[in-house]
Amino acid sequence: MRTVLRVFGECCLTAGGIVLLFVAYLLWGTGLTTSAHQHAFATQLQRQWGTHRDANPVTTRLHLVTGQPFAFIRIPRFGRTWRFAIVQGTSLAQLALGPGHVPGTALPGQVGNFAVAAHRVTAGNPFYNLNELRPGDRVTIITAAATYTYQVTHTELVLPGDIAVLDPVPGHPRQHPHEAMITLITCDPPWTGTHRIIVFGSLDAQAPRPGGKN
């Protein structure tokens, strides 16, 4: 009896240790891979954009290739060093690399809805603090062409099935857009799939990208 109890206790302790290790892996282990990719993306974009420096920034076309980066996102409220390269696509493979642009939604600065989804936890926890954004907060998107500054307008908590947040005019499937908007998406509460937290913003300013700086 004693032996049985001891083995049972040891199994429980071992299982607990494995679960803790798994949590550590999700929080930091997945982030290591992501940060390696992000590092490579930053170098890649800077090199690509460097060769375009003489080109007319307004006509510089964005090349969207699934799993490839095309822009940087900065959110001052998350800190000065917080910066991620946005990749094209939002399946798990792409979200493991960094925040993803929802295919079919508008491009940065374009009239319509530029939708970006990212993990709350895992993959470097990019949108961990998304719930802390308040109206008036700035979200900056830097592309080869320009720097676009969006201002947060409001936040919504929706169910996972609510795809209307991706509409050109969010929540109004049939309306024609007249405004350039941004939609940031992640899960809420953290670690779960029960809800989505959506932060909306509208384009406030745009400036041609100063030569090579991002």
């Binding site: 001891r6 083995v7 040891e10 199994c11 494995i18 290790l21 798994f22 892996y25 999700l26 282990g29 997945t30 939002t90 798990l92 979200l95 929802v102 989804a117 990212a118 993990h119 709350r120 936890v121 895992t122 949108f127 929706v158 996972p160 099935g161 609510d162 795809i163 947040v165 991706l166 998406i185 992640t186 899960c187 953290p190 670690w191 779960t192 799939g193 989505r196």
Partner: protein
């Protein structure tokens, strides 16, 4: 379980401890680099996409 394992390890206390440490590190590495990366997409965790 661990007591049984301890008795099966060869050598004196130092060798046993070294073997135990190597085994533990190997187990952690197996979980961290092979099991966890495989299991992460399978668990319904942190799904961020609307409709997905």
């Amino acid at each position: 379980m661990y007591q049984w394992l301890w008795h099966r390890l060869p050598g004196g206390t130092t060798t046993k401890a070294a073997c135990a440490a190597i085994l533990a590190i190997a187990m952690v590495a197996l979980l961290w680099f092979i099991v966890f990366p495989w299991i992460t997409p399978q668990v319904p965790l942190d799904h961020v996409m609307p409709g997905g």
